[in-house]
Symmetry: C2
Subunit: 213 residues, 2 copies
């Protein structure tokens, strides 16, 4: 059965973005520190057209996250863009002409917009009638494969609180951000979480949880 | 050289105690869930006079935490006791006649009190002139061995913020408490943390960090 998987990098003090997110600092101040572990890895570099990179246990984690994924899902904050519906100059996401999703990708938003076809197999669909509708459309588009949920924190919290996430992989980065967007708040206290796989590296600890409610 | 080691159980959402701590719920509501992983283990049961228990990788973690420890250190909240200096009926800690510390044990407090000699090698010393004085006295009493810091969150934060902790072991329990006492806040953002050992179990993930500043 198609599952919803959330994989996200998080500081040891629980933040998935730093404070004061802005166009200059889309991940908030210090937020880029959560992702430094990935930039040198082979799987990340290859999928972003940057050539070969390091092959290590973290690289396997990055490879695994792309296996059997038939659609992607994200919130409006992760997709980005300026204030107002979409501004005068339409925003096409942070990722240039060929985003690294390579699947139908559903953006949960309050604003309707026509689908946006990018290069490399990514088409952005904008869903304005709620998280359950977005998930159901993503699962249908995934054709029996799984759906990968990116972020940001807000939409991830909504899916967690609704008990709709089947697998949560936290890439716990040993830094403190002190402030910003927390992942695990406003999600209630009754999620059942079972750690099923841990990969330990000097710069990140990957912990995969099965999630039930 | 004598080091200061903090080992503490923490919920996945970052709390080391639940909300509404009271005499009835000294660890706050739900806080006991952070410690359920330990109660069946051989090392814990033996050190608490409860006979044999399970031997597994978590048990090794519990055994290791007692190696080369020459003194213990804790805050006033962990030692416990009612309001006022010590109440009419002097409070001797949560642990009965033979506390499981078996070393000189220093309690950081605002209230002076004579040392309290318990059975089994634990003597509580009450230190009212600050965390650095308590650490220095504990290290001297440890005679070259290490000092183990328990909790609560408040005193642990003070030692972390001051850059005085050398090793931090988090026993990350896959539960959400939603509210309570956080460990990693008010500690600044410039601690350098390096994961050096990870032990993965279904009910807890132990991650040991070296800490620098």
């Amino acid at each position: 059965m198609s599952e919803l998987k959330l994989e996200i990098s998080i500081s040891l003090d629980g933040f998935v973005a730093g404070p004061n997110q802005s166009e200059e600092h889309p991940l908030g101040e210090g937020g880029m520190r959560l992702h430094e572990w990935v930039f040198g890895l082979d799987a990340w570099r290859e999928s972003h057209g940057k050539g070969a990179g390091e092959v290590n246990p973290s690289n396997e984690v990055v490879e695994e996250r792309l296996v059997n994924i038939g659609a992607n899902l994200m919130g409006r904050n992760m997709f980005g863009g300026g204030p107002g519906p979409w501004g005068d100059d339409p925003w096409n996401g942070w990722w240039g002409e060929e985003p690294p999703f390579h699947t139908p990708t559903f953006v949960v938003t309050h604003h309707e917009r026509e689908p946006l076809v990018m290069q490399g197999g990514t088409t952005f669909f904008f869903v304005s009638d709620g998280i359950e509708s977005a998930l159901s459309q993503a699962k249908e588009a995934a054709g029996g494969q799984d759906v990968r949920l990116g972020g940001g924190a807000d939409v991830a919290q909504q899916y967690l609180a609704a008990g709709l996430i089947d697998e949560l992989q936290l890439n716990v980065v040993p830094v403190l951000l002190g402030d910003g967007a927390r992942l695990l708040e406003n999600v209630g206290t009754d999620l059942r979480l079972e750690p099923v796989k841990v990969v330990a590296m000097p710069d990140v600890t990957h912990v995969r949880y099965r999630v039930g409610k």
